[in-house]
Structure formats: structure tokens, C-alpha cells
Symmetry: C2
Subunit: 82 residues, 2 copies
Amino acid sequence: MTFDVTVNVSLKDAILDPAGQSTEKVLRNMGYAIKGVRIGKQIRFQITATHLEDAEENARQMAKKLLANPVMETYSITVRES
Amino acid sequence: MTFDVTVNVSLKDAILDPAGQSTEKVLRNMGYAIKGVRIGKQIRFQITATHLEDAEENARQMAKKLLANPVMETYSITVRES
């Protein structure tokens, strides 16, 4: 079976986000009442697995090993059947 | 009122994603049965607005004007009360 996986990777709260800060400054200058801009990554792919649980477990391994940097980033995973 | 906004920006299907392709190659070499890796951005922030609809409209404007490149990217917006 094929599953659609989305891995959202974001910087930990304690880590500075210069790109987010720049974006926030520009948007505020444009007149938008916003704060706390944080820019993360969203990685999407399809995976072949026998069960949803296997797909989730594989996605978790991939996030830990490659997609996220555990020192600076956190991740969340969403898996659904294609 | 304050709302939490998430803007997901992804490359259009017709646009090549070299970073996604490299990531896919590495993950396949690691033994994962995946395909179609696409890497996008996830921008999160808080916005002050009187209604959910206003927050959504502002987020849409920001995505169009600054956060996404309409030639190469598509975006989706999620807004919920903080």
C-alpha cells in the first residue's frame, strides 16, 4: 500500500530564526499586525508499506536520521493512505 | 483577537525540485521505499484581527505578495484562534 507522508520540520523555540525575523519586519512594514514569524520546512513524499504503522515508523526514522537536525529542530509527521 | 496562521508554500508540480530529488536518492539508498519527495516551506505566525475571516484574508494577501512566488509556487493557508 502507498501512503502520503508529510514531515514538518521547524526550528526549536530557543533557536533564532533570522529569515523569519526579516520576513516579519517586511510584513509589519507593509502594515500587517503580525508577530512570531518562524520559517520551517515541509517535506512530502509517498511511501510503500504494509501498514500505516510501518509507514509512520519509517517516516519517524527518516526524520530523525536525515530530515531534521535534532539539535536545532523538531518535527511532526502526518501519514495518510494515498 | 489573535490567530495562529500557517502558510504552506510548495513548488508547483511542473517545477523541478533538485533538493527533493537529492533527498529522495539518499533515502532510497538508505533502504526506504519512497518516491516523489518535494520540499516546501512552512511559515507560521500570529496575527491580530477582529474576525477569523479578516485573519484569513490578510494571510492570503501576505502569501500572494511576499511568502510565495506565484510563478513557481502554490500555497495553502490554515488559520485558527490562538
